[in-house]
């Protein structure tokens, strides 16, 4: 089994759309919980991960300049991550298809964790 990181990416518009009304928020939540539970019961959930704040700082270059963002120029930003275990990238991709973020216009970036045991 290999490990893969799911990076959840959303635009502000898609985040608002997912929220919608309180009832829609609850339904969205329900779909996430169902998806997570399924990953968990099939033994793919390595670490649920954490949600990330939308704000932050970027430190850049030799000058070590600090800016807010970089969220102004980013079309979609990472809102959280989860660590999963899967046979290979194909299976990891297959599993991500159930992620409710896709319904709201967001995306899941699937990145293999580099194997250190060589």
């Amino acid at each position: 089994m290999s490990q893969f990181l799911y990076l959840y990416r959303m635009t502000d518009a898609s985040r608002q759309a997912a929220m919608g009304s309180p009832e829609q928020a609850q339904q969205s939540m329900q779909r996430w919980m169902t998806w997570m539970r399924e990953l968990d019961t099939k033994g793919h959930l390595k670490d649920r991960g954490q949600p990330l704040e939308r704000t932050g700082k970027v430190v850049r270059g030799q000058q070590k300049s600090v800016t807010d963002g970089p969220y102004l120029e980013a079309k979609d930003l990472v809102g959280g991550f989860t660590l999963v275990e899967a046979r290979d990238i194909d299976q990891a991709v297959e599993l991500s298809r159930g992620c409710p973020i896709l319904d709201g216009g967001g995306s899941v970036e699937v990145r293999p964790v580099m194997k250190m045991d060589m």
Binding site: P22, E23, S28, M29, R48, P51
Partner: protein, 427 residues
């Protein structure tokens, strides 16, 4: 941890009320934004980490935190609730004041004040209902639109008109106000309309219909928890809602087809709601005033306690409809009265009563007027006439469930003989 049904919707109403207490009603939009923000945070965190043990407390903490932020950041530039102006200025009193606004009794009072403000007599009833559903029940504009079978733009117009009026007031309605009694009856009327929309409206028997009934009952219970609002009239309204709602589980068969009262399996009526309704009805009998709610509740009680259609006390039911006509005459009441007469005195008398209704023209588009004619003709054995009435009713059907039922009844008129009496009030 699973969320209870409509958790976010309920919490939305409570949190907006608490925040309005702090920010003032003129900052209603700000209160709504803060709630929206708290929901977004909850969604982000819970979807990954799972729902916490006490989700309501979690949400409240998030809203409280944001509220403190907003007040600290903007108290020099912004005016918040005028009666709290002084205590919000000082760090010593800010946090305790915000905590107090989020305490249980304060939230309930604030929800009541909000309810009374939404039902301002200057606002048309459709605006009142839209406001109540949006602010107190957490319905989005789209959800209100589908509940009332109207366009989203029309709902947004109602909401913006209503909110402008609300925000223009200095403060929310004061529960000690001299106008309390008069305003209470506007509130009861709005809740009654909300319940009826769910029970009889065009979207009845769709997914939203029980929702509207549920919200109306929830808000009525809120009134009963507050002594000044827990008057006999409120108990009567609560009774009629519970007794009607008790029949909801039997109104659709397992295939989603409409079941009129005659065909309903009475064992599927919700016994707990019947009992609750009868309890409320008893409480409602303590004052000198008999309102239309009292009489409608008594009619519903007559049905709820009858072991079968035949054993219903039709004498009393007709008599109650007579009283209702003298108190609050309407074409729908007259229709139901005629149906009850048809049960008591036979189908020909029922048809006479239907034919002599004063303002039956106003029911031109209401499918259950021709449907009632059809049922009575059917009972008289006049199949051809019954079939024509059912076909006319089917053409007026407001949703697929009604249409299926009426088309089926029309088809039955051509088929085998079925002498079952099929009449009822209120479908």
């Amino acid at each position: 941890m699973e969320l209870s049904e409509h958790f976010f919707r309920r919490e939305s109403g409570r949190l907006v009320a608490a925040l309005t207490r702090i920010f003032g009603v003129h900052n209603l939009t700000l209160a709504e934004d803060v709630v929206q923000d708290a929901f977004c945070r909850a969604l982000e965190v819970w979807k990954v980490r799972g729902v916490p043990d006490n989700p309501a407390a979690w949400l409240m903490a998030a809203a409280r935190h944001r509220a403190l932020d907003v007040v600290r950041r903007e108290r020099t530039a912004q005016k918040f609730a005028p009666e709290l102006a002084r205590v919000l200025e000082s760090e010593w009193t800010l946090a305790p004041t915000v905590d107090e606004a989020f305490a249980q009794p304060a939230i309930r009072d604030e929800q009541l004040r909000m309810m009374f403000s939404c039902c301002h007599p200057r606002l048309p009833e459709d605006v009142q209902l839209a406001l109540v559903l949006n602010i107190l029940c957490g319905f989005g504009a789209g959800e209100i639109a589908s509940a009332f079978l109207i366009g989203r733009a029309a709902v947004e117009k109602r909401l913006s008109r209503g909110k402008t009026t609300l925000a223009g007031a200095k403060r929310l309605f004061d529960l000690e106000d001299a106008e309390f009694e008069a305003r209470l009856s506007t509130v009861l009327r709005a809740l009654y309309l909300l319940f009826n929309e769910g029970y009889h409206g065009g979207a009845a028997d769709t997914a939203v219909h029980t929702d509207l009934c549920g919200e109306a009952m929830h808000l009525t219970r809120l009134l009963l928890e507050a002594p000044p609002a827990a008057v006999p009239e409120t108990y009567a309204l609560a009774a009629l809602m519970s007794l009607h709602a008790a029949r909801l589980p039997a109104r659709l068969d397992p295939d989603g087809n409409l079941n009129p009262l005659v065909d309903q399996d009475r064992s599927r009526w919700d016994a707990r709601l019947v009992e609750q309704g009868l309890g409320y009805l008893e409480h409602s009998a303590s004052g000198p005033v008999v309102t239309a709610y009292h009489i409608e509740a008594a009619i519903a009680a007559a049905h709820a306690t009858a072991p079968s259609l035949e054993e219903t006390d039709w004498d009393s039911v007709v008599e109650l409809y007579d009283r209702l006509m003298s108190l609050a005459a309407s074409p729908v009441v007259a229709l139901n009265r005629a149906i009850a007469i048809g049960q008591r005195d036979g189908p020909s008398s029922g048809l006479d009563a239907l034919g002599s209704m004063a303002d039956r023209d106003r029911l031109r588009r209401y499918p259950f007027y021709p449907a009632a004619m059809g049922e009575l003709e059917w009972r008289r054995g006049n199949r051809a006439a019954a079939r024509a009435h059912f076909a006319a009713a089917a053409a007026l059907a407001r949703n697929p469930v009604e249409r299926r039922f009426l088309v089926k009844r029309a088809a039955e008129c051509g088929g085998v003989v079925d002498a079952t009496p099929r009449m009822e009030n209120g479908w």
